[in-house]
Amino acid sequence: MNVIDSAWVIARRDFLALVFSRFFIIFLLAPLLLFGFSIFFSMATRAQDRAAAQPVVAMIVDGPTADALAQTRQRLTANTSEQTFPTLRVVAPAENLAAQAQNLLADEKGNYSAVLSGTLERPVLTGPRGSSDFVGRRMQLLVDESRRTAALDQARAAPAAQPLERVVTEQAVGSLHSSRRALAQGAQVLIFMITLMLATLLLSTLVEEKSNKIIEVLAASVPLDAIFLGKLMAMLGISLVGLALWVGMLGIGLTLFFQLVSGLVALPQIDPAVGWPVFVLLLLLYYTANYMLLGALFLGIGAQASNIREIQTISMPVTMLQLMVLLLAFMTVGSAGGLLYWTGLVFPFSSPMSMIAMAAQSPSLWPHLPALAWQALWVFIIIRLSSRMFQKTVLKSSAGGGSIFSFRRKAAAKG
């Protein structure tokens, strides 16, 4: 049997063993549950967070001033957002204004960031300045706008009510670049997340064979390269099953969501530079390449471990390594040159994620061919190195000499 046939036997066994294990359902549902819980908790806590983060200004001013400022704020937030200006709260004046302002700023319940007193002509804002002086600058805007409105009212001059004329186009370069950058990073994160989820599985995949002593039977029957390749293929199959389910569920969820909100909000128009069909194909190819590259590495590292405790010890550095690779790939988004850009493209482990970012941003197709070939070469190199290391350190055997590229024809024995 050749390496591929042997790998297929191993892959088939591993794939079926995992798919028919009771833990596979948990594996499939875990990301969906995680995703669901994240959305639920983020929605539940968002309103609270916003309320807590919104600065509140106490207004110790006369009635007309308070009304003018409140109306101005209402008019401006209608076209921006509620968070653009501090919340204004009217407080009845006390005898000693200075002391009242100090008391309000110290009031735990009131949660005031500043106190506004005086009139529109002579307003006084009491409170800390803060690093960005957000409250001071926004209150100045409100006061200025209120004064202008009051002046126009006094002059009985109505402001020009001519609406902004809109000429609607399909796309603008600025927003196109920005949406493609978002798509590039989204694709990178997707590849990263799925590979991250499978990292521990990959690390521990040979432990079963070692603890059950099956490795001896396998090693006597098929080349070690085939064992490693077969295990990678099985896990790739598992991940693709998971991916199909997760993406399918996500697609259904998003379709339903967008149907619900399509009348309420304008949906972002995202169009990858290479077009959607090619982009999806490249996403699959680069996911496979990324998975195979990191998978071969993790399988090789995990093969050195003899039990689950050792696997757990290795897991943390492996996750850190993945994060560093993701950061390197992030550096290539929106960039078109420089040392980090080229390192991200050429370094085998970051190459798939960097290249999918390129597919989102650049219409050139030819760079993907050498990139995929380069990544495939590294998969081959890592599998060979991993199996040789396994043979040397675990099976305690010298690896048989020759470079990792040396092959003697494996004649199919007739039997």
Binding site: M1, D5, S6, V9, R13, A17, S21, E208, E209, N212, K213, I214, I215, E216, V217, L218, A219, A220, S221, V222, P223, Q391, L395, K396, S397, S398, A399, G400, R408, K410, A411, A412, A413, K414, G415
Partner: protein, 314 residues
């Protein structure tokens, strides 16, 4: 490879962490024979088999398996039962056997059919769809043995195949080995239990401390020792005593000594002419155990006996 040899190895050397495990082993296993590798624990039997199968590479020396210098090239024609048995616990018995066959190039469907036949023929038909984890240790070992032969190999390599089996299953295994050999399959197995080798093998290799101490026919190993004479006489002394060798010893009223080179007839004649009054006289051919003691040494033999006893206790 020399014609008619299933396995041929010359000068195999292997060290682990600088400590020599096998020091220059030569083996020649004729096709269609049952070949035993005898030796105490740690003698280098498993390391030798693993080198022959290509699981580990020798530091030096050459080996050829069914004519292939790279053992994995002959994998389809070889069956291997390792000393440390291993199966996937969740796998069903039929699938486990078929999987092991598939590793050796047997199509899965054929493997499943043959597995079912093997299980039914051996009274394990009720276990076809049972997971390995539900079987006893001995039964799981039998399943692995079926996995070793399901693809009908030309060469079967068994590392300590009898260990862990009860007497009945040991008998079944001996039967299976004989059947396979009768069908033309070459069988090589390692063991530290001498009587298995004595009953089954035509040729043996005795290994001790990583070296071959003897390689050849079982009869040749036995012939290294002279037959043993046990004699009881009515007369306690007389001229007949001159016919006994100098190292003849009297134990419990019996004389024990090696048969003199001249054979039985001159001895018998001298005893009769010397009026020894023969009450009992027996000439015993030495067993493989005696040959092993003589070849590998008392210490190695004691070690093997202890290992065998320990296994029986377990």
């Amino acid at each position: 490879m020399s014609a008619g040899l299933a396995i041929e190895a010359k000068g195999l050397l292997k060290s682990f962490d600088g400590k020599p495990a096998v020091r220059g082993i030569d083996i020649a296993v004729p096709q269609g024979s049952i070949y035993g590798i005898l030796g105490p624990n740690g003698a280098g039997k498993t390391t030798t088999l693993r080198m022959l199968l290509g699981i580990i590479e020798p530091d030096a020396g050459t080996r050829s398996l069914l004519g292939h210098e790279r053992p994995l090239e002959a994998a389809r024609m070889v069956g291997y039962l390792p000393e440390e048995r291993g199966l996937y616990p969740a796998m069903k018995t039929r699938e486990a056997i078929a999987f092991m066959g598939a590793l050796r190039g047997l199509p899965l469907d054929t493997g499943r059919k043959r597995a079912e036949i093997l299980l039914r023929e051996n009274g394990l038909g009720d276990y076809v769809d049972k997971p390995i984890k539900s079987l006893s240790k001995g039964m799981a070992q039998t399943i692995q043995l079926f996995g070793t032969i399901v693809h009908k190999p030309k060469l079967i390599v068994l590392d300590e195949p009898f260990s862990g089996l009860d007497a009945i299953n040991q008998g079944r295994l001996e039967h299976l080995i004989r059947d396979e050999a009768a069908a033309g399959t070459t069988i090589i197995f390692s063991t530290h239990v001498i009587h298995h080798a004595e009953r089954l093998c035509e040729r043996i290799a005795i290994i001790a401390a990583g070296q071959i101490r003897f390689e050849g026919l079982v009869s040749e190993a036995r012939d290294r020792l002279r037959p043993h004479v046990r004699l009881k006489t009515r007369a306690s002394d007389g001229k007949w005593r001159a016919a006994l060798p100098a190292d003849a010893a009297l134990r419990d009223g019996h004389w024990d000594f090696e048969l003199p080179k001249g054979g039985v007839e001159p001895l018998l004649k001298a005893l009769m002419e010397g009026n020894a009054g023969i009450e009992e006289l027996s000439v015993e051919r030495p067993g493989l155990h005696d040959a092993f003691v003589a070849i590998a040494g008392e210490a190695a033999a004691r070690e093997m006996e202890e290992a065998e006893f320990g296994e029986a206790v377990r």
